[in-house]
Subunit: 158 residues, 2 copies
Amino acid sequence: MFLATIVNSLDAKGRVSVPADFRMAATHEDFNGVIIWPALNGGAFFEAAGYNYMLEMQNAIRALPLYSKERDKLQNAFFGEARKLSFDSNGRVTMPKDVLERLGVDGEIAFVGQGDSFQIWNAQTRQSAAQNIQFEAVPHLHHLGANQNIKTPKGGLS
Amino acid sequence: MFLATIVNSLDAKGRVSVPADFRMAATHEDFNGVIIWPALNGGAFFEAAGYNYMLEMQNAIRALPLYSKERDKLQNAFFGEARKLSFDSNGRVTMPKDVLERLGVDGEIAFVGQGDSFQIWNAQTRQSAAQNIQFEAVPHLHHLGANQNIKTPKGGLS
DNA sequence: CCATATAAACCCATGCTATCCCATATGAGA
DNA sequence: TCTCATATGGGATAGCATGGGTTTATATGG
């Protein structure tokens, strides 16, 4: 499972270490690395996952009729825009130049766990976007069996 | 699996390198190359795949009665219009002149992964056609288990 | 059946980039 | 304090895309 937000730095060759925990979670015998694709919800990040996740997507897409509009669009968005990034012997990946540009990377990259997948951000961008994460989750906590009315006590974490 | 969009250039002899990943994915012991055919949905590209994909299509067509209208039409569109392009020792294929003309190729060729197959475009044409791919996929994401209403956050990828 | 033109296949060379490999720093845990 | 895993830096190597010369195949005409 992909957990936590981890920030690592891009080196002069465009490489970045994928957090060790994430490497474990992404392990697959047929491909030693991760697959990334531009966020399908239009967010300023790339989504990423192990090969296994991709195989599941492939199965879901294969269930759609050949040449149907939905299959066509999904294949283009998913397979057409995806990249395979394989780990080097130290667990790093080389980030393609155009990906770095689209992310606006300036040195630090954030890996954000999402359970079955994770996200790749420019660390700065992530920090701005993530200011109010806990509070944004509150209206949806009932899915976890929570009370409908949660009151925020005074003096939370800084 | 055919993943990513890769642009390579056509040389003076009409050759183009098939991306190494695609060569791997297309590997078949009986034919070292790819098969291409004009897009069956009428798009401005050729579809392409390894020999294996072609064998599957052949099986599907064989299931139809000989001399039936549907078998006849499919055989013509598929086998009649298809070309075998074999790899040279450096992993390139020679693009037939008429294919280049139909694609309107002006030097750069785009290979677009589609999972089980891939597409071959004039790079320019592809770029124009692919501007809003992610957003066009959104209405269909529920096939992958996604929410029906996806909100695009502010400030996406460039 | 041979001669010729055209195009396809083969071969080698080059530059660029990704990958490999080794070295070092840092921090966690025994 | 010592050991080990991780993150990071940098030199060496291998793979890939590309250009171009040479040879082989194929089709067409005599």
